[in-house]
Amino acid sequence: MKLGYMLIVLAFLSIVYLFIGNSDISPMDIFHLTPVQLQVLQVSRFPRLISILVAGISMSVIGLIMQQLTRNRFVSPTTAGTMDSARLGILVTLMWFPGASPLQKMLVAFAFALAGTLIFMRILEKVKFKDTIYIALLGLMFGNIVSSVTTFFAYKNDLIQNMSSWLQGDFSTIMKGRYELIYISIPLLIIVYLFANRFTLAGMGEDFSTNLGLAYRKVVNLGLILVAMVSAVVIITVGTIPFLGLVVPNIVTLYKGDNLRDTLPHTAVLGAIFVLVCDILGQLIIYPYQLSISLTVGVVGSVLFLYLLLRRKAYES
């Protein structure tokens, strides 16, 4: 797959996307839009498209970074407790600072996501049995524990249903004025790209990369900070999108290998396409109602992930 073709597909899908939805806007109208149609495009469709693209790109890219840093194909923000920790952070703001602005919420979520990811990395260092699948299992267990803490406090404060909605990734609430925070992740992604070579090196292990003159600790910490920050941004604006950071990088690696400089653009574009297609499906399946993105991505993603897992098994034996 050439990157160029993928970009063309993405552009085509994005244009199609603008004409899908409840109020009728057909491509024919494009040169003589009524004020209402113009407003729909400006207030709802464009913001939604942009947040889909950015969220898709961000989640897949940070998934790739995490896999590179932990040297494990099955680690991602959803399987390492990052997302669950971010949710715990949001719960804390809901409980103690109910008047916090989205930006403040995001900062708290970021702090928690970072702490959670760091704890998971500590656990990884302690564990002696480094089976890939086992590590993934451990990460998911860890995530479950963090959410059991969340549940403990949410239950006491009657916030369970409220927390469920944070668990739920959903683009249908995206509107002008409520999504702009997601732009924060664009400069972060640029940093990721600039540091791509170093992350590739770090993926070769501590000893080897230190030998090659890399400040291993610093690079790993930078990577984790980026991961936590992007996760917090996405969870605040969109919600959790399960499996995205897991499936997309794995598919890209299948045909592209391990050099981050090469795989990053592919991962980014494929991630965007993946989310876009899922959201189009979500809008069409029960039209005029909508399925949330975490449901569609969850279903498609988990099937793909199972395929990757079992395929790997068949390949080994």
């Binding site: 302690k126 739920q168 969850g298 279903v299």
Partner: protein, 322 residues
């Protein structure tokens, strides 16, 4: 060796006394003299607690031996997510007053059936064509399906009317407060039958814990026994989940405590120890919920919280066993 035996007997004695005392306190505290009303009600609760505690402790102890790992619990295989999916689905589609949700016997039967079916399918699928060589793979597959069920339920949860959600929320957390007598008896019979069946295999547990290679070397039909035991574990977990609701980290907590307290690798000691610790912690937890928190929280939420924190401590502590 002799010394250790006596020490463990003492520990057993203390734990059993604690359990009996706690149960006694639970039965008589703040009774107001209304014995005819209170004793049967509280007795039922105690019976439910003992049953689920025993179920979970027993299945987790076996599960950890089969997987050769002390930080796993059968709760991660997605059974409780399936249970919640069914409950959410019933409320979402039919409403909280529909028979499938209100009629406890029906609800119980369907839940157990669904979970057992799921367990069987997962089991069949994974052990076919030699895929079952890696038991972690089976767990991960279960876990992913669990996540899938969870995203389906949380999609419905968000859409449910908040009043209906409160009814559903009662199902999300294990509760011993209104367990049905019929169900108690049915599950008790089922559990006893399953335990009798499992009796054939439990004598191999000490050998299994040496690891697969040693066990095979010592003449144990490893695959055959592990498969059967895994099925027993899954069915027991299904029954206890359908009876009171999901308690994810109870097993993890009690089996590890049993390891720490008894420092033994003999399964007779371990299993019984875990069962008694489970009863102590559940009855104690329930007392705290009723008397200290005055029902502001549920015992499963507390136990998941405590168990979870303990688990992170276990992970961060240097340990050779994993």
């Amino acid at each position: 060796m002799r010394m250790k035996y006596t020490a463990n007997t003492w520990k057993f004695g203390i734990l059993i006394t604690a359990a009996v005392l706690l149960i006694g306190v639970f039965l008589v505290i703040q009774s107001g003299g209304n014995w005819d009303y209170i004793l049967p009600r509280r007795g039922k609760k105690i019976l439910a607690i003992v049953l689920t505690g025993a179920c979970i402790a027993y299945s987790t102890a076996i599960f950890q031996t089969i997987t050769n790992n002390r930080i796993l619990t059968p709760g991660i295989m997605g059974l409780d997510s399936l249970y919640m999916l069914f409950q959410t689905f019933a409320v979402f589609v039919f409403g909280s007053t529909h028979i499938s949700f209100v009629n406890k016997n029906l609800n119980f039967a369907v839940s157990v059936l669904l979970m057992t079916l799921f367990a069987l399918l997962l089991h069949q699928f994974m052990f076919r064509r030699e895929r079952g060589r890696n038991i972690y793979l089976l767990l991960l597959v279960g876990l992913i399906l669990g996540t899938l069920f969870q995203s389906m339920s949380s999609f419905m949860e968000v859409l449910i009317d908040p009043n209906e959600f409160l009814v559903l929320q009662g199902k999300m957390f294990a509760s011993f407060n209104n367990v049905n007598t019929d169900l108690l008896i049915i599950s008790m019979v089922a559990i006893i039958l399953i335990l009798l069946y499992a009796q054939k295999f439990t004598k191999y547990l000490d050998v299994l814990s040496l690891g697969k290679d040693h066990a095979v070397n010592l003449g144990v039909d490893y695959q055959y026994i592990v498969k059967r035991l895994l099925l027993v574990v899954m069915v027991l977990v299904s029954i206890s989940t359908a009876l009171v609701g999901p308690i994810m980290f109870l097993g993890l907590l009690v089996v590890n405590l049993a390891h720490q307290i008894f420092r033994s690798h003999r399964h007779k000691v371990l299993i019984w120890g875990s069962v008694i610790i489970a009863v102590v912690s559940l009855v104690g937890g329930q007392l705290i919920v009723e008397r200290v928190f005055t029902f502001a929280t549920t015992v499963s939420v507390i136990i998941n919280f405590v168990g979870g924190v303990y688990f992170i401590y276990l992970l961060l502590k240097e340990n050779k066993s994993w």
